[in-house]
C-alpha cells in the first residue's frame, strides 16, 4: 500500500488575514495598542511576580499585623489589608494564578472542543447529531452556575474551579470549529485529499484542524477575558485559589466589609481585574473585526 499524501495547502492568501496586517491594524488603533502592551506587561508581572513584588513574602501570605489596615503611602502604594499585608504585593503575586489558570482553562477547552467540532463537521450525519446534542446539554447550564455546582461537588481550589470552567467552556469551541470545518469541507484541498483516499483521521488532523487555528485564536482571546472574569467571580465566592495564597476575587471579597472606610483593600484588586479583562476584551474585539469567527456560526 502506498502512503500517498498531499501536503496540507495553506489557506488561500487573503491579505486581510496576514500577521503583518493584524499588527498594522493593532498599531493604528490606540486602544488595541494600549491593550496589547497592557497584556504583555501583565504577563511579565505574572512571570516575574516574586522579583517585582516589594514584599514578596507578604504577597504570598505572610502576615504583618503591625501594618494592619495601613492606608496607601509611598511604602505601600495600595495600602495594607487587615492582616497588614502589602496589597500591591498581593496583587502582583496574585497575577500568576489569575492569568495562568485562565490560559490553562482556554487551552484545555480548545483541546477537547476543537477535535470534536472537526469530527462533527467532517463526518456529519449521526456523529454530528450526537456531538451537537451533547454540546446543547452542556450549554443548557449558565456556565458559572455549572462551574459552581461542580466546584462544590469536588471541593475548593483553583484547579477544581479551572476544571469546572473547562467543562462548561469546551462546547463553544466545538460549535466554532464545526462551523469552520463545514466551510473547509467544500474546499479543493480537502476534496483532493479525499479523492486520493487519505484516511479521514489524517484529513481531520493534517488538513482541517490546522486551518481552524486563526478563528480559534481570535475566540480564545475574547474568551480569556471572560474566563479571567469568571475565575474572579469564583474566587470572590471562595471557590478559587485558597488562602493564604492571593486571589484577586477573594481579595475584593475580603475587603468588602471595609469598603466604606478602608476602601483600598477591595478597590485595587478590583481595578486590576477590570483592567486585565478590559485589555483582553478590547484586543479580542479588534481581532474579531479582522477575522470575524462569527461568520462560521
Amino acid at each position: 500500500m502506498t502512503n500517498l499524501e498531499i501536503p496540507a495547502l495553506k489557506p488561500e492568501k487573503q491579505n486581510t488575514r496576514t500577521f503583518r496586517h493584524v499588527l498594522t491594524v493593532i498599531a493604528r488603533d490606540p486602544l488595541s495598542l494600549a491593550s496589547t502592551i497592557a497584556i504583555f506587561l501583565f504577563i511579565l508581572i505574572a512571570v516575574f511576580a516574586r522579583q517585582i513584588a516589594p514584599y514578596p513574602l507578604e504577597g504570598a501570605g505572610k502576615t504583618n499585623v503591625s501594618n494592619s489596615l495601613l492606608p496607601p503611602s509611598w511604602e505601600h502604594p495600595f495600602g495594607a489589608d487587615k492582616l497588614g499585608r502589602d496589597v500591591l504585593s498581593r496583587v502582583i503575586v496574585g497575577a500568576q494564578p489569575a492569568l495562568i489558570v485562565p490560559i490553562g482553562v482556554v487551552l484545555f477547552a480548545v483541546l477537547i472542543g476543537a477535535p470534536l467540532g472537526a469530527l462533527a463537521g467532517y463526518k456529519g450525519g449521526r456523529v454530528d447529531e450526537l456531538i451537537m446534542r451533547i454540546t446543547d446539554l452542556f450549554l443548557a447550564f449558565p456556565s458559572l452556575l455549572l462551574a459552581m455546582a461542580i466546584a462544590s461537588a469536588l471541593g475548593r481550589g483553583s484547579e477544581k474551579a479551572a476544571f469546572a470552567l473547562v467543562i462548561s467552556w469546551w462546547p463553544w469551541y466545538t460549535r466554532l470549529v464545526r462551523g469552520v470545518t463545514l466551510s473547509l469541507k467544500e474546499r479543493y484541498f480537502v476534496e483532493a485529499a479525499q479523492a486520493i483516499g487519505v484516511r479521514d483521521s489524517v484529513i481531520i488532523l493534517r488538513h482541517i484542524l490546522p486551518n481552524t487555528i486563526s478563528p480559534i485564536l481570535v475566540q480564545a482571546t475574547v474568551d480569556l477575558g471572560t474566563v479571567i472574569l469568571a475565575m474572579g467571580g469564583l474566587g470572590f465566592l471562595g471557590l478559587g485559589t485558597q488562602p493564604p495564597a492571593p486571589d484577586w476575587g477573594l481579595m475584593v471579597s475580603d475587603g468588602r466589609i471595609y469598603i466604606l472606610s478602608q476602601w483600598w483593600i477591595a478597590t485595587f484588586p478590583g481595578i486590576t481585574i477590570f483592567v486585565v479583562v478590559l485589555a483582553f476584551n478590547l484586543l479580542g474585539d479588534t481581532l474579531r473585526d479582522i477575522f470575524d469567527p462569527r461568520q462560521y456560526r
Binding site: 446543547d136 452556575l145 461537588a153 470572590f236 478590583g270
Partner: protein, 340 residues
C-alpha cells in the same frame, strides 16, 4: 413546516434537553462526590446517619436505579432538605424567588432600555465618534466584575453623595411606618397595588443600585450584538432600494431596519439572561438582597449541598425555559423562522 409543527418540535427538543439536564445534575449531585451521603448530612455525620442516607438515596444501588430514585424525588417536588434551615429546599427556593425575579426583571429591563438604543445608534453612526464611544462603554460593561461595580456604586452613591440606600430591599423602619402587604412578593407591585406610595418610593430607591449593577454586563452585550445585527440588516437589498428612493436615513434605520433586527435581538436577550442569572449571586451578596442568589452564596459558604444541587437544577430548568420562550416569541414575530 407549519407553525404548529415548529412549536411541537421545539417543545420536544426542550424536553430532551431537560432530561439531559436532569442526568447531569444527577451526576454532579450523587455520582461525582465520593462521599455523597456525607455531603447530604453535613459535616457532623455519624456512621449510622451515613448508612441511613445511603439507603434513602439508594447510593448502594446501581446507577440507573439511583437515577430513577432521583427522578422520582424530583417529580414529587422533593429536592431534599436544606442543611442550614432544615426546611425543604424547594420551599426555600420558591420563597426567595420573587425577590430575585424582581431584581432580574428590573435589571434586564434596564439593560434592554439602554443596550438596544445604544446598539442602534452605534450602527447608524458606524465609524463615527458616537460608535467608538458606545464600543468603549459596552466593552467596559462586559469587563467590569459585578461584585466590584456594586462596591463602587455603594461608595459613590451611598457614602459620597448620600443619594441612595446602601443595601437591602426596603428600609428596616418601613415595617413600622408603612408595612408592605405581600401578595405577589414583588415589592414594587405589592406597594403599587395597595397605593402605599411611601413604600413604593423606598422599594424603588433600594432597587436602583442592584439593578444597575446587574444590568452592566447585559448592557454591553446587548449593545454590541444589536449593533452587529443592525449592520447586517442595513446591508440588505431592500434597504439599498429604500436609500435609492431617497427615503430619509432616520426612517430607514429606525423603521425599516429596526423592525427586522428585533428577532435576532430577542435571541441575544435570551442569551444575556444566563449572565444576569448568575450575576444575581454577586449582586445579591453585595446588596444583601434576600433572594435566591444570596441563598446560593450562603449555601456555598455553609456547604449546604442539597440546597446547592436544588439551585443548580432550578437554574438550569429556568434557563432552558427562558430560551424556549425566546424561540417561540421569535417564531411568532418572524414566521420565516418556523419555515426553516
Amino acid at each position: 413546516m407549519h407553525k404548529f409543527e415548529f412549536i411541537l418540535r421545539r417543545l420536544l427538543s426542550s424536553l430532551l434537553v431537560l432530561i439531559g439536564v436532569s442526568i447531569m445534575t444527577f451526576f454532579i449531585a450523587r455520582v461525582v462526590p465520593s462521599n455523597a451521603a456525607e455531603l447530604y448530612i453535613g459535616p457532623k455525620a455519624r456512621p449510622a446517619d451515613i448508612e441511613r442516607v445511603t439507603k434513602q438515596l439508594g447510593l448502594d444501588k446501581p446507577l440507573p436505579i439511583q437515577y430513577l430514585v432521583y427522578m422520582n424525588e424530583l417529580f414529587h417536588g422533593d429536592l431534599g432538605q436544606s442543611l442550614g434551615s432544615k426546611r425543604p429546599v424547594l420551599t426555600e427556593i420558591t420563597g426567595r424567588l420573587p425577590a430575585t425575579l424582581e431584581l432580574l426583571f428590573s435589571g434586564m429591563l434596564l439593560a434592554i432600555l439602554i443596550g438596544v438604543p445604544l446598539g442602534v445608534l452605534s450602527a447608524r453612526w458606524q465609524g463615527k465618534p458616537l460608535d467608538t464611544a458606545v464600543r468603549i462603554i459596552s466593552i467596559m460593561g462586559v469587563s467590569m466584575p459585578a461584585f466590584f461595580l456594586g462596591l463602587l456604586l455603594q461608595i459613590f452613591f451611598f457614602r459620597n453623595l448620600h443619594l441612595l440606600p446602601l443595601a437591602a430591599r426596603v428600609d428596616g423602619d418601613l415595617r413600622f411606618t408603612s408595612p408592605i402587604v405581600e401578595t405577589t412578593g414583588f415589592f414594587l407591585l405589592d406597594s403599587l397595588l395597595t397605593r402605599n406610595w411611601v413604600a413604593f418610593k423606598d422599594v424603588f430607591l433600594h432597587l436602583i443600585l442592584p439593578a444597575l449593577t446587574l444590568a452592566a454586563y447585559p448592557i454591553g452585550l446587548i449593545a454590541r450584538m444589536t449593533r452587529a445585527t443592525m449592520l447586517e440588516v442595513l446591508e440588505q437589498d431592500y434597504i439599498r432600494t429604500a436609500r435609492a428612493y431617497g427615503v430619509r436615513d432616520a426612517v430607514i434605520t429606525y423603521l425599516y431596519a429596526l423592525k427586522n433586527a428585533i428577532g435576532p435581538t430577542l435571541t441575544i436577550i435570551g442569551i444575556t439572561f444566563a449572565y444576569a442569572l448568575t450575576g444575581t449571586f454577586f449582586v445579591e451578596l453585595i446588596f444583601n438582597w434576600p433572594g435566591l442568589g444570596l441563598f446560593t452564596v450562603r449555601s456555598l459558604t455553609g456547604l449546604d449541598y442539597p440546597a446547592l444541587m436544588g439551585i443548580t437544577l432550578f437554574g438550569a430548568v429556568g434557563y432552558v425555559l427562558i430560551n424556549l420562550i425566546v424561540d417561540l416569541l421569535q417564531a411568532w414575530i418572524d414566521p420565516r423562522i418556523s419555515m426553516k
